[in-house]
Amino acid sequence: MIALLRVAKFVVSLCSLLFIVSFLPGQSVYSQDTASSVNNLPPITVKAYDTENDAGSSITVEWSDPGYWRREGFNGYRLSRKNVASGIEDSLDVLPTGHVLHEDRSVSDDSSYTYTLAVLINGANLTSTSTEVVRSSKQWFDNRLTWVLILGLIICGAVIYFIESAKRGTKLFLRRIAGLEAIDEAVGRATEMGRPILFIAGIQDMDDVQTIAGLTILGSIARTVAEYDTKINMPVCTSLVMTAARETIKHAYVTAGRPDAYNDDMVRYVTNEQFGFVAAVDGIMVRERPAACFLLGAFFAESLIMAETGNSIGAIQVAGTAMPAQLPFFVAACDYTLIGEELFAASAYLSGEPRQLGSLKGADVGKAIAMIVILVGVIATTIASAWNSESMLWIENLLRQMFSTG
């Protein structure tokens, strides 16, 4: 971890060095004869430099106009570029009022260039002398993301640290989550009643982490189901989820020692369309009357339809989602609800595997960091704004800089 940090720091300093080297602005003055008509204005200054934090092939040209744009007959700025080696000159673009910089993305990293800027007034060209020679280059690290990297490394480092320490056998305390304890109870009840259980992993594809979390919980539920020999029914709305869910349930049956009892039809693809799916799930609920419904994943408007229909057939319902807008309905219409982060934690809880549990503790470190930083930030901001404290303002700005997304 520390080694990584060092590498990162090295990369950062290297980048900044490269940046400084390439930052050699050229200043220019108007040639006397053409500038005579507007000689009461100072000359326009133009500088060109390699665009920062990019993948090369780009030079930024920046200029400051002392007021030519306000002149009558102003038609814009014409930017020209000269390739130093070949001597080829290109007229790049005419830019209207208001522009003070232009990113030239048609350069090659292998050549050097100079730029000139012409102010177009009533057909007359007031051309600046050319800038210093400039060459574009690619950077290996995006400087703006230094703090993102560091914070990321701290949080991920904490997660990995606790995973490792859990692997070594350190005992970890975790508070209980009510919804999880209800899962076994719900499956048990379905078995007693001889009715199926229904599992919905939300309506998003595998590119949503909530769906993946839902499926990992499915893994544990399916194991219980296989042991009790209950029927599980899972309509899905994308075929990738179908593939993953089948793998999950099949594995659970194999682990429970009953591979023959598994059947691909436990997971059915319905349709990708949200309400086409809801219509079908509603139908299944009313016709098959599952004893327990699990709604775990990413849900949208359909949450209430499913939860209400489930409620009306008297099923035990355990729901969980990280979609805040749907939580009130789950809270109201379901027996147990996993709120937000609890959904992601649930899969780790249910596995009971120390490594998984360790990762939860790691995430708690992230929360602790957030709380401490917010506390310090709020205090600094408060004192800085109410009593104009310079040092607190410095702290506030530092924190804001650290926690900016680049």
Binding site: D207, T216, E308, A322, P324, V331, E341, A363, A370
Partner: protein, 224 residues
């Protein structure tokens, strides 16, 4: 073999994408990966379509209960597919916008899919009413708080809120229901949303890390 290779693919792709964020010349990898996902997702559509056809033809051929509805599904699927893939009736032919007005695809969308979709959604209005009558009860402190907040917002979003409380003087104007609703949105609601968002982001980070490290692999058929 069956498990190592997928794990390798997963970790390699994931790590590459994490790294690419920080390296300017690799930043387009993220874009490429999402483009690739889309193309794979189209194959997934085909897989889904294949499954749909399989399940429903089986139902029809076995004449199992409700097979007639499977015929309806297959018909709907076939008609939509044919009109869409061949752009039947599209004024601009094969090059036209798929949903060009006048094309049969757009007609089916407008007169069949759209009413079905909106009506399903409209059912929610009824379910909301039923839920407010039976489920939203002040069973304990938490439920009561939820109810009171919902109450204020509901009143505040209508003219009724203004009528009821605009007699309250400017000195106490936050107690006017529309203002109170806005205050709830801007203060406690914002705090709650923020706490949920921070919590979720940490949940996602630790979940993603578990996936990349290969600790969580249920969806690949476990670690046996």
């Amino acid at each position: 073999m069956k498990h190592q290779i997928p794990m390798l693919i997963l970790s390699a792709v994931g790590t590459l994408l994490v790294v690419s964020v920080f390296v300017p010349s690799a930043q387009h990898w993220g874009e490429d990966a999402t483009l690739y996902f889309d193309i794979i997702a189209v194959f997934a559509f085909f897989l889904g379509g294949g499954n749909l056809i399989r399940v429903h033809t089986e139902k029809v051929s076995h004449k199992s209960a409700g097979w007639i509805y499977s015929v309806v599904t297959l018909l709907g699927f076939g008609i939509m597919l044919v009109t869409g893939l061949f752009k039947i009736g599209n004024p601009n032919g094969i090059a036209g916008d798929l949903s060009k007005s006048g094309s049969y695809f757009q007609l089916l969308f407008q007169y069949v899919m759209s009413p079905l979709n909106s009506t399903m959604y409209a059912l929610l209005a009824f379910y909301v009413a039923s839920a407010s009558y039976r489920a939203f009860r002040a069973k304990n402190t938490e439920a009561t708080i939820l109810l009171v907040a919902a109450f204020v917002i509901l009143l505040g979003r209508t003219a009724l809120g203004v009528l009821l409380t605009n007699w309250i003087p400017a000195q106490l104007s936050v107690l006017q229901i529309p203002n109170l609703a806005i205050w709830i949105m801007n203060a406690p609601n914002l705090a709650g949303q923020r706490a949920i968002m921070i919590g979720i982001s940490l949940g996602v980070i630790s979940m993603s890390l578990r996936l990349l490290l290969g600790i969580e692999r249920t969806y690949l058929g476990g670690d046996s």
